[in-house]
Symmetry: D2
Subunit: 337 residues, 4 copies
Amino acid sequence: MIIVMKHQATSEEINAVIQHIETLGFQAHLSQGEERAIIGVIGDERPIEPEHFELLAGVERAVRILHPFKLASRDFHPADSVFKINGVSIGSAQVIVTAGPCSVESREQLRETAAAIKAHGAHILRGGAFKPRTSPYAFQGLGLKGLELLREARDEFHLPVVTEVLSPQEVTLVAQYADILQVGARNMQNFALLRAVGEIQKPVLLKRGMMSTLEELLMAAEYILAHGNSRVILCERGIRTFETATRNTFDINAIPVLKSLTHLPVIADPSHATGKWELVTPIARAAVAAGADGLIVEVHPDPKRALSDGAQSLTPEHFAQMVSQVRRVAEAIGRTV
Amino acid sequence: MIIVMKHQATSEEINAVIQHIETLGFQAHLSQGEERAIIGVIGDERPIEPEHFELLAGVERAVRILHPFKLASRDFHPADSVFKINGVSIGSAQVIVTAGPCSVESREQLRETAAAIKAHGAHILRGGAFKPRTSPYAFQGLGLKGLELLREARDEFHLPVVTEVLSPQEVTLVAQYADILQVGARNMQNFALLRAVGEIQKPVLLKRGMMSTLEELLMAAEYILAHGNSRVILCERGIRTFETATRNTFDINAIPVLKSLTHLPVIADPSHATGKWELVTPIARAAVAAGADGLIVEVHPDPKRALSDGAQSLTPEHFAQMVSQVRRVAEAIGRTV
Amino acid sequence: MIIVMKHQATSEEINAVIQHIETLGFQAHLSQGEERAIIGVIGDERPIEPEHFELLAGVERAVRILHPFKLASRDFHPADSVFKINGVSIGSAQVIVTAGPCSVESREQLRETAAAIKAHGAHILRGGAFKPRTSPYAFQGLGLKGLELLREARDEFHLPVVTEVLSPQEVTLVAQYADILQVGARNMQNFALLRAVGEIQKPVLLKRGMMSTLEELLMAAEYILAHGNSRVILCERGIRTFETATRNTFDINAIPVLKSLTHLPVIADPSHATGKWELVTPIARAAVAAGADGLIVEVHPDPKRALSDGAQSLTPEHFAQMVSQVRRVAEAIGRTV
Amino acid sequence: MIIVMKHQATSEEINAVIQHIETLGFQAHLSQGEERAIIGVIGDERPIEPEHFELLAGVERAVRILHPFKLASRDFHPADSVFKINGVSIGSAQVIVTAGPCSVESREQLRETAAAIKAHGAHILRGGAFKPRTSPYAFQGLGLKGLELLREARDEFHLPVVTEVLSPQEVTLVAQYADILQVGARNMQNFALLRAVGEIQKPVLLKRGMMSTLEELLMAAEYILAHGNSRVILCERGIRTFETATRNTFDINAIPVLKSLTHLPVIADPSHATGKWELVTPIARAAVAAGADGLIVEVHPDPKRALSDGAQSLTPEHFAQMVSQVRRVAEAIGRTV
C-alpha cells in the first residue's frame, strides 16, 4: 500500500500515519517528494482496505499495490488449471461447448435439446431448474422436478450437467444431481452462497456480475478457493453499460485480461452477453478468437415457445452452424472444439 | 406491449405475430404506419417479457407499456405508505435518522455509539452482525454475538434496531433480534432471500443494488410485497459509474423519481454513496432537500480503529453537526427531523 | 508517480526502469517490498502519462501521485475564486441563478422569458443561438439573429447573458454579444475550442461532458487557464449511466468534491441533469444544499411549443416556485439567493 | 411515435394530446387499453423528439418507433457500401489493415514505421499531426510539418494516409494532405466539424465517442451524409464503463449490431479499446471474427520512446504477428486480409 499525503500535510500528520502503520504490524517507508510525502506500507496488505488510511489527518489517498486475491492469482500458480469433469477437460487446448435450454420445461423439451446438442458436438448440458427471475410473476423453474429431468438427460446422453444454485441451503441437493454448480451473475457477491459452494467437492461455474469488476470476480473466486474448492470456472457474460442496443455489453477484453491474471479457466456466454440470438454466433466466434476456453449458449427446440430467454436461444440448426464456425476459428488459432 | 415490425415485414409475418398474441390470450391491435406496422398487445402484459416477441419473424422490437410492478406502484396505491416501528413513523413528514457503526465490534463500541446518536437525535440504531465483505480475508462480523449486543443496546437506549440478513436460513434468527431487516445492495436480486423476508412480519430495508435500475429496485420490492410483507423501505445508496473520485455516484434523481413511482418510503445512505466522511454531510443535506424520508449513516466513536468502513464513518461530533444542518434543511422544505 | 514492478521482475528489469526514469530527467527511488519492488519517480510528473512506463519490461502498472492539473487546483490557489460579471459576483456566498430558454426562438419569446425570470429573481439570462443538436434534421438555432436578440434582451432587462459557442472561428463573434461564453458538454474535450476561449477575456461556463471524469473536467479548465483566461465556471449537468429513468444521472457528489479540489466556482444544471421539468426543482434544492455556487435552468413561456428541450423547461410560474424554495434552502445553510 | 398516457389520464387530456399531434401535421391513432390509453403518431417522426410530448398533461412517456437516422440506415440502402480509396476497397470481403504511429514525431520515425507496416501487409498508413491531448502540457503534435511528413511517406510507400482533423477551419488544409480524414472520439458530436467534413469530397473515418450510443454514432454519420459526403467509415474504439482493468471496454457487440443497422463499413481500433499492447492482437482477432471490415492499430518502431500512446503501440515485429494471426481468422470466416 502506498499512502499519498496531502500537499500541505504537516510532519506531525506524517508521523502519526507512520505510527498507525506500525501499530498495525507493518513497516513504514517514508519518501519525501517535491510536492508531497509518500509513505509505503511494507507487509502483506491484503487484509486492509486502502480506505482505512484515508481518514487519517493529512492523508489524500491510499493506493493498493498488491492484488487482493492470492489463490486465484497466476503469480502464485503460473500454470493453467485444467479440470477433468466426467471425461471433459476444461482449461486445455480444447474449447468446451456447453449448451441447453435456459429453463428445463419438460422431459420432451430437454431430451430433444440434449439429443440435438450432443449430435452437433456439445460437451456439457446446461439447464435451469431453480430460476432467478426479475419478476415474482414470471416462471420460477421446475425446481426438484427439473433436477430429476436433468439427471435423466445426463445419463441418457452421457453429457455432464451444469445447473444454477440459488441459496446455500440448496447446495447439497443440487450437488446430488449436477456435475457442475453454477453461481449466477446476480449472486456473484452472495457471500453465503460462495462459502457454501466452497465447502463441497463439485466444480463451480462462477458468472461475472453484470456490474462487477474483474478484480471483484477474482475475489469471488477467491472465496470459493479459500473454502477448499479448487475447481472454479470463470464466465464472462456481459456487463451493464449505457448502451441499450443490446441486453448487455460483452466485455471481450476481459478474456485475455483474466487469462493473464489467473490460472483458472475462462469461458464466455454470448447468449446473455447479447440477448439476441442473431448476435450469438458472431460473438461466440469472437470470444474463441480472443482466447476463451469454452462457451455456454442457450439452445431451445422452439424458442418462441420458451418459458424464458427465448429471444437469445439458438435453434438446434443455428447451434450446429455456430459450432461449425467456432471450430474453424478455434483451428485458426491452434485449438480444437 | 407495443410490437414494432421491421420496415420490410410481410403481411404473413404480421399475421403470424397477431396469431401468436391471440394464442397467449391477449388481443392484438394492428396499426399500419407509413414505414412500419405496429401491433398493440391488449391485456395485462406483466408476466411476459418484450424479448419474447423479438424472435418472431419480421419483428424489430417490442416495447413494454406498463411498469412490470403493481403492488409497489403508486398507480394502485396513491397515498404514501407510512409504517410505525416501535413508535417511529417512517414515510411521514418527519425525516427519520438511522445511525450506527458499520460493524458491531464490541459492547463498548456499540454502547458508546448508541448513546451518542441517541443524544444527537437519531431515531433508529444500525449495526452489522453478519457482514458481506468483498474479501474472504476481511473481518466477517461477530454473527450471533453481534445480534445479542444490538438487542442489549436497543433495550438500553430505546432505539429500534436495523441489521443486515445475508441468507434465507438466517431470516428467522435475525428477526428475533432486530426490528427491521436489511437486504443489502449486493443481495437486491437474491430472490431466495427476497422471498424469505417477504414471508415474515418485520419491516424490510431494501438497498438498491449498485448496478440496478430503479425499475429493478421496485421489482425487488414487489417480490417482498407479493409474498405478503407490505412494509418495505427503499434505500438509495449510490450506483456504480465510470467516475472514480468517489466510491459510488449518489443518484439524487432517484429520490424524486421513486417518490413519484411508488408509495413506499425512500431513504438515503450518504455514507456508502460517497465513501468519504467529509462528503456525508453535504450529501445528507442534498438528499433531504430532494425529498428523502430518512437517512442512514455510519457513525463510529473512533473511525480510524473501525474494523470496516472507517473512512466513511462520522465521529459522534460530526454526526451532531450533520443532524443540526439536516434539520435546518428539512425545516426549509416544511419537514422536521 | 509510483511504478509497481511485477511479482517476478528481475533486477535487470528494475535497473532498466531506473535508468529510463533518470534519462527523462527525474530521480528514481527504489523500495523493495516482500512481494514486489516499487519505484518512486521524484519530480514534476505532470507531463508524463503513467501508461508511458507500463510497457517497460517487468512493470505491472504505474500510478499517478499528483493531480495532473495545477492552475485549477486548490493546492496552489487555496482561496475561492470570485468573478464579478457586470455586477454579479459568482463564487461568493450568494447563489447565482441563470435562467432562460434552451433556444432563442423569437424576440417575443425571449423578451417574455427575460421579463419573467428578472421579476422572479434570476441574475443571468441564458439562451442558445448556435445549437448543438443530435439530429441534422432538428432546429439548429437562429445563429447571428439569436445573438442580436440576446443582446437586446440583455440591455433591456439589465441581465448579463450566457450563450454557447460551437467552434473556434465563432468565438470572437459570440464574445461581441455575450458576457459569458458557454462550452457545452459535448465540446468539453474539443481542445481547439478550449484554446480559443482561453485566448479571449470573457468568462467561460464549462459544462462537464456526460461521460467525463471530474479530473478530465478540471483538465479542460486547465486548458483555458493555461491559455490565459482565469475566469472559468464549472457546471455539473448530469452524467451518463446505465439508469434510463432520467435523461442523465445528476452527480451530486461532484459538487462537494469539486469544491474541495478547485478554487473555481461550481454551478449545477438540474434541467439537463434530469430531462424532466417536474424533477428540476427538487434537484435544484439538492444542488444548493450540497454547496453549489449557482444554478442554470431552462425556462420557456410555453414549453409545449418550445423548439427544443420543452420537456425539461420550467414555466415562469414553476420557475418562481423554484427560486422561492431554493432561497429557503440557501438560507438554511447560511447563503443567499 | 407512441405516446403512453398515465394510468389516470382524463379524456380531456387525451383529446388535448390528439389535437397537439394534429397541429404538428401528423395523424393521431388512439388505442384504449385496459389500464392505459396509447396514442400513435402517424407520419415521419424523425424531426421531433419524444420528450416533446412528455410535458403534455396526462402523458407518461413517448417512445420513438423509427430510427432517427435515414441515409445511414440499411432499411433505405440494403446493400453494403464499398468505397475505393486509392485502390483500396473498404467494405468488401477483404479486411483492411490501417497502421502507424499515434503521433508523427519525425521523418525517420514515420519512414521506418511505414516501411515496416507496408512490408507486413498493411493497406493504409495512420499518423497524428494535430493531436487532441487531455493535458495542455502534453505534446500536441507536429501540425503542418506532420502533414508534410505523412504526404512524403504516402508517396514513397504507396499507402493512402488517414489523419485526424480537430476543427472546421483545418478541414481544407488536412484534406490537401490526407486521403481519409479522421474525426476522433472526443469530436464525434462536434457538429460544426461534422458539417465541415460533410462538405468536402474525401472519405471520413468517424470514431465512436467513448460515451456515445450506437444510435448517436449513426446520427453523427447522418450529419456527414446529409451534408453531401457519402463515404463514411465507422470505427468502434472502446467505450467507457465502470471497469478500470483496461483503458476502455471494447464493445464487440457493436460490430454485428452496426453491420445490421447500416450499410457503411465498420472497422475496429483494438489499440484504444484496450490501452495495452499485449491485448491488441487477441482483440484484433476477435474483431475480425465478429465481422469487422478492417482494423486500425498503433505501431511504433520504439514504443518506449513514443511521445504518446506508447503503452498501446505494437512494435513492427508484434504487428507482423498480429497480421499473420488475423489473416488466419479472416480466412476461417471466408474473408481475406
